[in-house]
Symmetry: D2
């Protein structure tokens, strides 16, 4: 149990997810001392942990802060390339790093169920569908990619829908001759992601180093 106030920094502070994080962290034992976004930088102290929920373009900025301060790092940015993932692994030798494209508990369970279904329904067809708000730039979503990874080398068709301001829906369907089995997740508010990031922050504050996914935090590593 953490009792004192923890100072934290936030990259992407003015985005949709950034705002939810500020709300959830303020309701808990966290104090925002550093924020960075399109409007520039605000600093009132030295953060003990850094969260990045912005865009891949800002990645070097975040890395330089971790390199300098040697503090735990949580990154929720989607659309990272392989080189960037490798850089995170490198950082994780010295500090704890949590990287995930989706910080909801339900998505973690969906991934587990997909694994199990895939084992039992090996020769069935598979389809993935994701729906997000019209402002989402990357296609397919980072979460859809995580689902796809469950199927390893098998190629799985993925459809991307963009509708209004839907927070995020993912469905994976298995089709056999005579039956269809589907697993669906729907986010009804962004708060759920902010709570997963809070859970991750509490987790990494206890660690010295290591590379963690949100799956590791939910199911253990």
């Amino acid at each position: 149990m953490i009792t004192r106030k923890i100072k934290y920094g936030l990259i992407g502070a003015s985005g949709r997810l950034g705002n939810e994080i500020k709300n959830v962290f303020a309701e808990n034992h966290f104090e925002l001392v550093f924020e960075y976004d399109l409007n520039g930088e605000k600093k009132s102290g030295s953060p003990e942990i850094l969260i990045d929920c912005s865009l891949p373009e800002v990645f070097t900025k975040s890395v330089s802060i971790i390199d300098e301060l040697k503090i735990p790092f949580i990154i929720a940015t989607t659309g990272l390339n392989e080189e960037q993932i490798n850089k995170l692994r490198e950082l994780s030798q010295n500090v704890p790093v949590v990287q995930s494209y989706n910080f909801s508990l339900g998505i973690q369970v969906l991934l587990r169920l997909t694994e199990l279904a895939n084992e039992k329904l090996k020769d069935w067809d598979v389809e993935i569908v994701e729906t997000h708000h019209r402002f989402k730039k990357d296609k397919p979503s980072g979460t859809a990619k995580m689902i796809r990874n469950v199927f390893k080398d098998r190629e799985v068709n993925t459809s991307s829908l963009r509708l209004g301001n839907v927070p995020g829906e993912h469905t994976v369907s298995f089709g056999g001759l005579g039956e269809v089995l589907s697993i669906s997740h729907s986010a009804t508010s962004r708060r759920t992601f902010a709570e997963g990031i809070l859970k991750s922050a509490e987790f990494v504050l206890q660690k010295k180093n290591g590379f963690f996914s949100f799956t590791d935090i939910v199911f253990g590593k």
Copy 2:
């Protein structure tokens, strides 16, 4: 009301839809006197009406029969090109022709509802999703194209899923800021299409010529 037996011919007689048509027509006042499929031709009389539920490749065969016999023609083949549609219009000056990519009543209602929703939700995002059995060759489905036509010049993203032996599902979704409205149709058996073709047959047997869609038969022309 038709009371005597009507002699009919069927192109694509051994396919999935062909088999349903044979069942439904046998239960009514129709007698199969000509069939044509991959296994060749069987003939026991001269058809008074011809139904084609096969593939675009067989189109010329069907046309040559109509040209010769001058009988009503119902064509359910999907994936026809513009030239083929024009040929049908030409034929329809002399005989009644019904052409549709989908002969279910529910799809006709879905198309009407889509039209109405589009009028009221002009600036909302639109997405179409269609799901069919893994054996379906064309993408997107003919029915999805019919839905797309409702939106005229507006381009509408269409996703195609192929799963097990799903008879056919179509969803059109409208997304505004804060809400999503969807209209979905799901065929639970192919029999529904065969019944729409029966209805069309009874309709064209009363006509001298003209080009009809299944919409005209359901809602009037």
Copy 3:
């Protein structure tokens, strides 16, 4: 076009919907001068219009204000009884009243589509399903009742689901032999209701008296 600030009163000001209304109205040309909720009353001026988004228990309070001030009244409370509806009709002889269980544009369109589908699919089975957050007290939802009214004297089975904090989902399904047609609406945020109430406020400020539904405001009376 209204250009000056309009003073408004809000009953149920601290509820979920009340909060959204305060946001949306603040962004437009409205000034909150009277609020009433579980914590009591706050007053800084005389309202020119009153909005009630609370519970049937508070109905008499609202009515007494309208009786005294003779101002336009918008009521979004669900679960009103017949006597309360009659009281509203009585009030509407002197002031304009808008009463609806659902102020979203999408729901209005769903009601229209349901009407049309019902006309064409007279002998099909019908099922209504509504899903709301676990805190919702009334069952079925006021909106589900509005959908049910489309079917007049026909009894339609209605299922109520309570899940997490789902803002609100409604589906009406028509089932024939061989096909199912469904119309679904999903609210992704409560803001959409607040915007419908804003639209209604702008509408009634132009009226002298009369009883209006939100349907009248969207489709004309």
Copy 4:
């Protein structure tokens, strides 16, 4: 591997499922020598295995045959009472018995996934929805009861929809604050159940006695 023809008996032979069983068993190494339904009895030999896919009312008839012939027994009847289940357990001391309300592979996987999800999402709300053709008599479906059993003593709200000729759909939804996770199964044809019964027949023909569910056959006991 079974190579010789197996003689089998079928109670409920003229029902929907009965017909599918006859098709699937005829395509394999089975010969129908005894059938029983509303139209009476037909017998051309002594069955080596008995399948009952009829109604609880016929239960005593089936039991008397098993008592007499001492052959393996597969029962797919839904709506059995506790006494009847106990009778089956008694019979299973002498012959192998398979009892299940649903013989589809997909439903077995759905049950496993539901178990797993329930473990991880303990404090989330749960809702079950089942949809079947209008001719289905029992409510909720036997399969819905199987899903409910996963939750042991916890009461789970279950909604039953009756629509057209839908073969069978089941959805179990978990709702947390901010997210919903759903697992859905849809039967696209009754053939899938007949194939599960075939699989069960091949399984019990190798057994001397014992009480088995279809779960035991899919996942091992």
